[in-house]
Each structure stands twice: as C-alpha cells, then as structure tokens.
C-alpha cells in the first residue's frame, strides 16, 4: 500500500456572495490537513473568504469525447436565448 498522501482539489470563494472556484490541487493526509495546506498554498495573498477541499478521487468528470452528445443538442434550440424574439424597443426592457 502506498504511503503517499491522497490528492485534494481546492476551491476558493473569492468574495462574499460568489461561488467557490477551483484553484488547483494539493496532497494532504486528511481533510483538516488539506484545509491547512490549502490556506498556505492558495491564499497567501488573501485570495478568498472561504476554502473547500474535496478528495480528488471523489470527483466524477465528463469525458471530452462526450462533448457532442452532451452539448450539440442545444445547437438547434436558439429560441432558449431571449434575443431570438423580436420585441420592439417601444415596449421597454423585457
């Protein structure tokens, strides 16, 4: 069994009200340790107001080759965008 610390993904909330954003990853022995390391590695210049750490092994990602089946169906549904409808300017903001 490997003695290497597991990998963690780090997410930082840059400002109050914003979503956390992925900033990078690091190794740590457990969640608390990962938070401490994240603080040292990613927020030395007060980059954020909140940190999330998630075990990298727990992240499930979509595969790049699935791009077509995931996103192409939206191509012929331009009506989902408000600009699809011609609304006269006199009517005001809508």
């Amino acid at each position: 069994m490997s003695n290497e610390w597991p990998l963690w993904e780090v997410f930082i909330r840059g400002q109050h009200g914003l979503s956390h954003r992925h900033v990078g990853s690091l190794h740590a022995s457990d969640a608390e340790h990962a938070l401490q390391n994240a603080r040292d590695v990613y927020t030395r210049r007060k980059e954020g107001v909140s940190i999330w750490v998630v075990p990298a092994a727990d992240i499930t990602a979509s595969a790049p080759e699935d791009k077509g089946s995931l996103y192409d169906p939206a191509d012929d549904k331009v009506y989902r965008h408000p600009t699809f409808f011609d609304i006269p300017d006199d009517v005001g903001a809508m």
Binding site: R80, F84, V91
Partner: protein, 325 residues
Amino acid sequence: MYAQMITSEATPDDPDKLAAFQARIDAGERIEPKDWMPAGYRKTLIRQIGQHAHSEIVGQLPEGNWITRAPSLERKAILLAKVQDEAGHGLYLYCAAETLGVSRDELTEMLLDGRMKYSSIFSYPTLTWADMGAVGWLVDGAAIMNQVPLQRTSFGPYARAMVRICKEESFHQRQGFDIMMKMANGTPEQHRMAQDALNRFWYPSLMMFGPSDSESVHSEQSMRWKIKMNSNDELRQKFVDQTVPQAEYLGLTVPDSDLTWNDNKGGYDFTGPDWSEFFEVLKGNGPCGTERIEARQKAWDDGAWVREARLAHAAKKRAAKVAAE
C-alpha cells in the same frame, strides 16, 4: 410573488450573536450555509425558498397543459423548452433550501399535505392558447420584478440561484409577449382571445405580489434580514407602470375602468385585486387548487419505482465493482 405571505419569526437567540449577524447583513455580506444564523432566519428562508421552488414546479402544469396543442411545431418546441426551464428553476431552488438542513422529500411532502404553499397564480386555469402569451408576459413579468432584486438577497445559495434564474427568465417573458403580439395583431377572433387572456390574468397577476404592505405583518423582519428586498405595494406599482404601456402597445385594454395616470406620484392609480379571493386560492381553494396537488401527488407516487430502481441499480453496480476488486 412566487413566495407569498411568508411568516417570518424572530427567535430567542444569543443577543450578541444576533447583533453580529445583523451587522454582517447590514455590511452587505452574504450568509452561507455553514455560517451561524438565527433559527428564525433559517426557518423563514426554508419556507420562502421552498414555496418559491414549489411554485416553479407547480407552475409547469398550467403551461404543460398546452404543449400538445401548440399551434405550430416551433411554438411547441419553445413551450417545451420553457417548461423545462421551470423544472430547472425548481431544482436550483430546492437545492438552495436543502443547504439549510431540510430534505427534498420533506419539502415535497409538505407541499403535498398542504403545510407548504405555492404561488396563488398557478391555481388559475389556462383555457386558450392566448393564455400561454399572457402567462409569459404577465406572470413571468411579475416574477422577474421580484426576482431581480432577490439576486442581492443575504443568503448566498438563494442569491446565486436567482442569478441563474433571472438570466433564463428573460426568454420566458419575451416568448410570452411574442405570442401576445401575434394574437393581438391577428384575426378579430385571435385579438378577442388575447383580450380575454389579459382580462382573466390581470388581477391574479397583481395578487402575485402579496397583500398590501399595511397587512403584510411579517415584512419588516424579512426586510431587515434582506430576504425580502422590496415591499409588496412597491413592486406591484412598478409592475403596473411597466405593463400598462405594453398593453396599450398591443391594442389591448387593462380590465380596470379606474386605471388613471397620476402625475403627482409618477405612476398609475389602479384597482387592487379581490383579497378575499387571494386568501381562498392560497388555502388551496382556487379554481385548479385540487387538480394541481393531485397532479403533483400522482407524479410523486408514479415516480416512486423510478427512485427505488435507480438506487437498487446503483447498489448492484457498487457490489459488482467490489466483487471485481
């Protein structure tokens, strides 16, 4: 609005903590799920976001009613996309409510057994195709009026859900107005249908903002907590001022003979809705009140085997993976 008559309660919390909490809100900071918050803030928000979510979900029903009867394939695809958006909005909001410690199943059960409400507007029937126009134009228009300021509400997950929702909501209102333009400028019969839809949806739309400020007992606490950003009357006035010129543009008449422009206040004087009707509808006694909850109950019951089957399949896959290792 999509959340009406939300009871807001003050709770016996540590005064120092309460003061610090209020100071954070006053400073424009966002409250996040793991932060300390007064029990009343949590409870009120669960009620408000939950009711908002229920409204999005129940709101699919009156429009879903016309998907199979849309007048063209294009209109059908557009309506389908809109109803799909409403489902998405419900999901964003349920998730925001769940960060406060309530479960999805609990929220659903509270809707079904009447402990939680949905917006009064969705208890009204959609009788003709013109109603699809009126709903997009008026109902989504009124919703936008309320939801835009809620993007700045104090609870982070709610505010962020609102940002996503508002981005998508503009499509909804514009597709509604587009239908109204077609109908109002169509044959005399189509024009008559457009006018009839406006007649039926006008007052229920005004009700969406909730009772008058003088009767809205819980507003003050919610406004201090910034989970309600504007008063009911303020938003209703704004809605009327924006909508009346749009009706004029369509060549339609707002069904209010007392509607007049008031130069002093820079807005319209108008007749308020019948509030006794509103309270009845909110209690579930609206024209489609029973039907709406029955439809939700049926979806919940009919979907039970799907929820179970997914879990059983996931357990089976997990077991197979363990066996292979």
